[in-house]
């Protein structure tokens, strides 16, 4: 499915919480459940054979709203990695800020992943952040991009706020030079 937008990932009516927890149960709410709350049998995440920690999606994943609740919902539902051939910008930042790794692969490789899953829903795909590789059981492999700063953050569990707080002196200096009141 292409262009999966953040209103599908987590509909606006579920954004009323004031904490970051519990959004997982409403992940893909309207695709997962009927209006009466019963699960839709034909939706992939309702089928336990497709259970896993890597979410695989087609082009332009996470487009639309800036709601970080989308990343929180995916993480809360037990995923650590999202694989697509193309991510929307804001979603990508939100994911990284929540230690959810967005892995961008080529269209061809994405097609191979889908084929492998179709053949065997229990297939195991390996994502190695340090080596920046994603590997299929048949040995097929692709490398993915991530900027060095973010990679270091993810591997060491730092976040941007820790870094920004550490350079507050530089920021105050910048304000002085630029006469920002």
């Amino acid at each position: 499915m292409e262009n999966v937008d953040t209103d599908q990932i987590i509909p606006a009516r579920f954004l009323k919480a004031t904490s970051r927890d519990g959004f997982g149960e409403n992940l893909f709410r309207d695709w997962r459940y009927n209006a009466d709350g019963s699960p839709k049998k034909d939706f992939v995440l309702n089928d336990p054979t497709y259970k896993g920690r890597i979410l695989v999606a087609a082009k332009n994943f996470g487009c639309g709203s800036s709601r970080e609740h989308a990343a929180w919902a995916i993480k809360d539902a037990g995923f650590d990695v999202v694989v697509s051939s193309f991510f929307a910008d804001i979603f990508k930042n939100n994911a990284l800020n929540n230690f959810l790794l967005p892995v961008t692969v080529s269209d061809e490789f994405l097609a191979r992943i889908f084929a492998a899953i179709k053949k065997d829903p229990a297939t195991s795909i390996a994502v190695d952040l340090a080596a920046q590789t994603i590997t299929l059981p048949d040995g097929g492999q692709e490398t993915f991009e991530i900027n060095n700063y973010k990679k270091t953050c993810l591997l060491n569990g730092y976040d941007d706020i820790d870094y920004l707080l550490s350079i507050r002196g530089d920021i105050e200096n910048f304000e002085k030079i630029n006469e920002i009141a």
């Binding site: 937008d5 009516r13 332009n60 709203s65 800036s66 709601r67 941007d160």
Partner: protein
Amino acid sequence: MAKTLFEKIWDRHVVKTIEGGPSVLYIDRHFIHEVTSPQAFKGLEKRGVEVFRPKQIIATADHNVPTIDQHLPIKDELSRIQVQSLIENCKKHNVELYGLGHPYQGIVHVIGPELGITQPGMTMVCGDSHTSTHGAFGAIAFGIGTSEVEMVMATQCLLQSKPKLMRINVEGKLNRGVISKDIILYIIAQISASGATGYFVEYAGSAIRELSMEARMTICNMSIEMGARGGMIAPDDTTFVYLKGRPFAPQGADWDNRLAQWRELYSDEGARFDKEINIDAATIEPMITYGTNPGMGISVNGHVPALSEINDKELPSYIKSLDYMGLHQGDPIKGKKVDYVFIGSCTNSRIEDLRLVASFVKGRKKAEHVEVWIVPGSKQVEQQAIKEGIDKVFEAAGFHLRQPGCSACLGMNEDKIPAGKYCISTSNRNFEGRQGPNARTLLASPLTAAVAAITGEVSDVREYLETNNS
């Protein structure tokens, strides 16, 4: 070296650059609202960090507020808690709040410009993807997630990688009945809902320069709908005239100094863009969407594309989309019956939008089967509409003028479109379920929405305009 408008502003706001990584970008103004800020305040408190520059933050309640009886307590408990949390957080951290009941309350992207908070050359962010709206003033403005809201609260800075730059030139004269919403829907239909991902867009050309500030805001507002991080337009006399005298605009000698700086904000001759697109304004017709992303737009005289016109890879999404919308491939869109008309949202809820709709519907009546909601973008827009008697025009036509908020654009409050119903909407997203579970959204301009309210179906407004009237 020749610089783009974007680069001139960006370069002035870089505190430092991490080698092989992003830049630390200083943020001049930060807007917050009730939905994407509570977790950020909580995060700060957990870290034991104070808000760094509370005077550079402006708060309002807009996303889930009711649009009737705003003087009463909010009925929905969760919405009430969210709005109440905003009040408490702002009080605790000394942030100015234009909440319910305040004369400045309204949709965050409507009140920033109308109060003169939004100014050329600034960097501005908000936990909302339509922050790109403020780019209409020649500012770098973009939407951020809640972790980033927390970063800006803590340090007034963000870590950002410099985006690629795209310029879209719209040259020539617009057709009668075609307005800025049609321009942006046309652009998105041309380049797709992901066509500008990774880019920051500058809109230029004679057709853009001719537009009013409010019309420019509509264009920049929807930049995110083609994936762009933001959109911007070089400031000019139209911008300066709009700003002068607004409550937070600079005054006296300060105004003169700023104005001199603002006049330098344009892309230099020979500045390099990673991509450039040219559009002939005369080819644009009144636009409408038929599908479930904003790139699925056609002329109101067009037809829903046939399956044979869609490439194989997109076919599954396309079929799902038509199925959701209850539309058939190859069908004309004109004449499609609509049930609801929603005129509002940060895209089209400003006073010019309401004036335009009023001028069209004056002396006309809505179609019997249609429900029409007009939701002003702010308290100030609402008061101005009442002052001009626009509310009476709407009343006579059978429309409901409600109170300010995001309303049916995203259906977080009670303003939801019922399942299966068609709503012609001046908002910005036609995603599945956006206006309510299984609601079907057709995005269009306020003028195209107004004519549909009268005829009860998708219509070409030009067939209803008097000859000498645009």
